[in-house]
Amino acid sequence: GAGVSQSPSNKVTEKGKDVELRCDPISGHTALYWYRQSLGQGLEFLIYFQGNSAPDKSGLPSDRFSAERTGGSVSTLTIQRTQQEDSAVYLCASSFSRAYQETQYFGPGTRLLVL
């Protein structure tokens, strides 16, 4: 596809369950980013991938959060033992390279609601 895609679009889960969020970046983009958008915290950086490695995981809020990227393409963000404070929109972005001047192109996000 032409843009960044994310699935599912919406996810409702019960507290304590695990969830997986998927991101398909723009073809050919080597850099991939996850951000979280919540009412109280605004837009926060979570993690960044260059190829399949994650040089910057500093934004992950707890060890319940993990992410991987395979084949230099698809990425999965996993939240274990979800809590109500994990409710947010999770946005994925990709860019051609990690250079600071490169524009990050965003997907439509996954809205997560933890009951």
Partner: protein
């Protein structure tokens, strides 16, 4: 740490008129980029315009232009001839060459309403 501040949580404009959204930032770097993103109800963040700190000329993209004041650390977005489709949340974002690493730092956002 870099910070980005948008002091206008909400703005409104009449269709066909002009509106300016404000953004200020704090950084000790001299080499950076600034961005304005638009987020409509569909949630998709769309790049509106970008500005390189070393370029003195203000960026323009059709009806969108910026007023970049480097010394004042100000980066406002002007939307001319506002259209109903411009209604959205607008985010100002910063990315420095050295200290930002991989991340964009966003402001709090400004919700723009366009009245017919």
């Amino acid at each position: 740490a870099q910070t980005v501040t948008q002091s206008q949580p909400e703005m409104s404009v009449q269709e066909a008129e002009t509106v300016t959204l404000s953004c200020t930032y704090d950084t000790s770097e001299s080499d950076y980029y600034l961005f304005w993103y638009k987020q409509p109800p569909s949630r998709q963040m769309i790049l509106v315009i970008r500005q390189e700190a070393y370029k003195q000329q203000n960026a323009t993209e059709n009806r969108f232009s910026v007023n970049f004041q480097k010394a004042a650390k100000s980066f406002s977005l002007k939307i001319s001839d506002s259209q109903l489709g411009d209604a959205a949340m607008y985010f100002c974002a910063y990315r420095g060459r050295v200290t930002s690493g991989s991340r964009l730092t966003f402001g709090e956002g400004t919700q723009l309403t366009v009245n017919p």
